[in-house]
Amino acid sequence: MAAQNFLWSFTKNCFTFGLIGLTISDRYASIVPVRGSSMSPTFNLTTDSFMGSLSDDYVLVEKFCLQKYKFSHGDVIVFCSPSNHKEKHVKRIIGLPGDWIGTPMTNDVMKVPNGHCWVEGDNPSSSLDSRSFGPVKSTMPYIRLKKLLKLLLW
């Protein structure tokens, strides 16, 4: 009887804790790992294929900016990829709506349309970003990164 009570209260506590944690991570802040070298040297300065995911940088992301969708130049954001909504990318905002962006590949200048932003990785040689898939719709950004907490696993 006591064991049943204990199990029940333990389940309730787990459930409550999970609910609160989920709400906080959805609305306020959460911790995400950053994979790949497209943002080096800002994140993942050394990509060791032997260590793999153990040497990823972990960053604290804040979601307050999603209330008003107010981003600024230079913010690092996490967003869903336009071609596959389940993938998330981490890049830096280079252009906001109304900015003119020069594409080095085609020697062309284009204006970032309303509701979109132009993102690029810090490491241009290995970065899949707006230069390949065009401006990202500004509602896709998931959260702004605040590199308050950068945990490097050993």
Binding site: T16, K68, S81, N84, N114, G115, M140
Partner: protein, 170 residues
Amino acid sequence: MGVRNQLSLFVTFAKEGFEKSLLVGKFFCCLHVVNTYVCTPALAYGPSMLPTINLTGDLVLAERISTRFNKVCPGDVVLVRSPVVPRRIVTKRVIGMEGDRVSYVADPKSSDKFETVVVPKGHVWIEGDNFYESNDSRKFGAVPYGLIEGRVFLRIWPPKDFGSLGRRAE
């Protein structure tokens, strides 16, 4: 003695206050989780979905489960975050999924010309039922799947229109 009594009274009050606010916090979290992951109410108004949705506004319920599992099909009425104004959510019908060939009349008020487009990968083509007054994919192009917020499955107000939304009137 009086001070100790008052202190213990204060501690009791504080404990009860904490428990009550924890209860309120838990309720709020529950509400948030249901709203974000299960279903959400929405007020849909405007002329772009006539005759399916009234001009003055209908209260509808949209579920978020089929969007998470990629079960949205052409013919569904969905809530979509507008690609042009990020803080606005619009209600439109899905006409084509990725890879589909979509034919549409670009500007029905001025000409009858049909245009055909292939929906790119990861995008959907949305149109309002009232294509004379609808600002949709014909103006701003195919919309990434990640902007779909929910699938409308039930209309709950006004009571005389209670029930699921119909298919598009051809």
